[in-house]
């Protein structure tokens, strides 16, 4: 799976309340979530994000609540991949489960606006703007399989059970 897109870069410890505040989570209308994504961090984000863009963060992205509305809001806003040094555990699982590509890069050199090429299968990120390539942490195979099915719904529909 490959994605190409423009980077939006933020910092460490972005919690789920900042990804989508609790007050907006009580809905099944995903567009409503996307309209408020990252609102308390960057009020302009939902306006400037374009389809295919890539969200880049530092340590511990998605810490806090187990709300799946957080990755759903990001995915619905058009973001194709989230890159972080590492993710909070529940967010990481949730993202894969809803078919949002995520990749852990312990180190990277990425500036806002850089054009990135991400290959989820090999776990590499190539920064086309500065020519550098970065290598991601390997995911457990079951997560790769779930992501390949575009999420857990399709995965379980097909396999009926978990295969390690």
């Amino acid at each position: 799976m490959k994605f190409v897109g423009k980077a939006h870069v933020y910092g460490d410890n972005i919690d789920t309340d900042r990804i989508i505040p609790g007050k907006y989570t009580k809905t099944l209308d995903l567009q409503q979530l996307a309209d408020h994504v990252l609102e308390d961090l960057d009020p302009e984000f939902s306006k400037k994000v374009q389809k295919g863009d890539i969200l880049v963060a530092g340590d511990n992205f998605g810490c806090g609540s187990s709300r799946e509305q957080a990755p759903l809001a990001i995915k619905t806003s058009g973001v194709s991949v989230v890159i972080a040094h590492y993710f909070a555990r529940i967010f990481f699982r949730n993202a894969i489960n809803i078919g949002l590509a995520v990749i852990e890069l312990p180190e990277y050199d990425i500036q806002p606006g850089d054009e990135l090429e991400v290959d989820i299968t090999t776990g590499t990120v190539h920064n086309k703007t500065n020519g550098k390539t970065f290598y991601g942490t390997k995911m457990p195979q079951v997560m790769v399989d779930i992501l390949n099915e575009n999420g857990l719904e399709n995965y379980l529909k097909k396999h009926k059970t978990y295969k390690l």
Binding site: N13, D15, D17, R18, P21, G22, K23, T25, K26, T27, L28, D40, D59, N60, C63, G64, S65, S66, R67, E68, Q69, P71, L72, Y86, A88, R89, I90, R93, N94, N97, I98, P140, V142, G151, L152, E153, L156, K157, K160, T161, Y162, L164
Partner: protein
């Protein structure tokens, strides 16, 4: 090879011995979802082709996060839950029954040694009972509802030894805040914590729940409280770690040295001794949540407020963790003491903790709260500041209109 508690519990559910770092598919004993997460769970369950849940006896739904519903959109989501519960024959706790985690423990839906998945991050609270309980998202929960199983990576464990005796006016909440400050908000990511030591063995179930509850504030997967000294109204087999089990690290804390702790805005790991926050004016005070909304918490608040009136600048809100807690507080006079002092009782449920309704703070206001999170915007207004501490800390702040050390207030009382 010797095992930690988590390795033992996961092995028991995987049908083979497993150790940290290994992957396993495990049988799940119980699943739970709330009104924040259940609607998406129900949707995912149906999209997975689900018709009948794997075992209706092993599921609980709770309407607690926006309860009673503040608007039509949420009312409709609650209806969706009621319909699903009825159709699938699942136990549903409706508005006012209480906070999911309190109900799961209070009504014995969780037992020691079990594996429990909850579509709520504070599911780790059941570690107070010695269960491997962890928070998952809606779709993972739907997977468990369908298959009765899930996959896990066996976590490494941090052992926390708590020895010594707590000072008066210092509680399990202060210990866990101290630890969150020490390890940081990512300090236990992908790891479990085992709590042990003489201070733990002396703790009530309520306090053990407070301890386990905030493990997620360090990114932890589960928090297992030593089952020694745990009193339950039924027989159970305590699970203890093997001699020589491997830990990621061991942290020893002499709890007698801990004074009241407060987490300042805007992160639960921004923890300092209370002296550094004394004098901060407070406009709203809140006692409640799955961290500290139980009977012993209301008792501590009543100790501070008996026969007194809260400061005129403060709005003081209390949401008991469950209807049962509320009823006990009514019967033993605690609710009267607190109401006479000027408290406003809210329905049992999450209340202001999560910013959906009931007690959203105003701009530039400071809140003293017994909850577990103070991220920006957590209570519904990004332009407010939340200070986390024990129920005594909250009651003392409500009384004085500013942050004070509850130990001083208790001293004046001769307590």
């Amino acid at each position: 090879m010797p095992q930690t508690i988590v390795e033992k519990i996961i092995s028991n559910h995987a049908g083979k011995k497993v150790y940290r770092g290994e992957m396993a598919v495990v049988d799940v004993d119980m699943v739970m979802a709330t009104d924040t997460t259940a609607p998406l769970t129900i949707q995912a369950f149906k999209r997975m082709g689900g018709e009948k849940v794997w075992d209706p006896e092993k599921m609980v739904l709770v309407i607690d996060h926006a309860s009673p519903p503040p608007n039509q959109a949420i009312a409709v989501l609650h209806d969706l839950m009621r319909e699903f519960a009825k159709e699938q024959n699942i136990k549903l706790y409706d508005i006012g029954a209480g906070i999911c985690h309190q109900l799961m423990v209070e009504n014995h839906h969780v037992k020691p040694g079990q594996i429990v998945l909850g579509a709520d991050s504070h599911t780790c609270t059941y570690g107070a009972l010695g269960a491997f309980a962890t928070g998952v998202g809606s779709t993972d929960l739907a997977g468990a509802m369908l298959t009765g199983s899930t996959w896990v990576k066996v976590p490494d464990t941090i052992k926390v030894e708590l020895n010594g005796e707590l000072q008066a006016g210092v509680y399990a909440k202060d210990i866990i805040l101290h630890l969150v400050g020490l390890l940081g908000i990512e300090g236990a990511t992908y790891q479990a914590i085992e709590f042990t030591g003489e201070a733990v063995k002396a703790m009530s179930l309520d306090s053990r729940m407070t301890l386990a509850n905030m493990v997620i504030e360090m990114g932890g997967k589960a928090g297992l409280v030593d089952m020694a000294g745990l009193e339950l109204p039924y027989e159970f087999e305590p699970i203890t770690p093997d001699e020589g089990a491997k830990y990621a690290k061991v942290i020893s804390i002499d709890v007698s040295e801990i004074e009241p702790r407060v987490a300042g805005p805007h992160s639960p790991d921004n923890v300092k001794p209370i002296s550094e926050f004394e004098g901060v004016p407070i406009q709203q005070a809140f006692i409640g949540s799955c961290t500290n909304g139980r009977l012993e918490d209301l008792h501590e608040a009543a100790k501070i407020l008996k026969g007194k009136k809260i400061h005129p600048n403060v709005r003081f809100l209390i949401a008991p963790a469950s209807r049962k807690v509320y009823l006990e507080a009514v019967k033993d006079g605690t609710a009267q003491i607190l109401t006479e002092a000027g408290a406003t009782f809210l329905p049992s449920g999450c209340g202001p903790c999560v910013g959906t309704h009931l007690g959203v703070p105003g701009n530039n206001e400071n809140i003293a709260s017994s909850t577990n999170r103070n991220f920006r915007g957590r209570m519904g207004n990004p332009n407010s500041n939340i200070y986390l501490g024990s129920p005594s800390f909250v009651a003392a702040a409500a009384l004085n209109g500013e942050i004070v050390n509850p130990q001083k207030v208790l001293d004046e009382e001769g307590n």
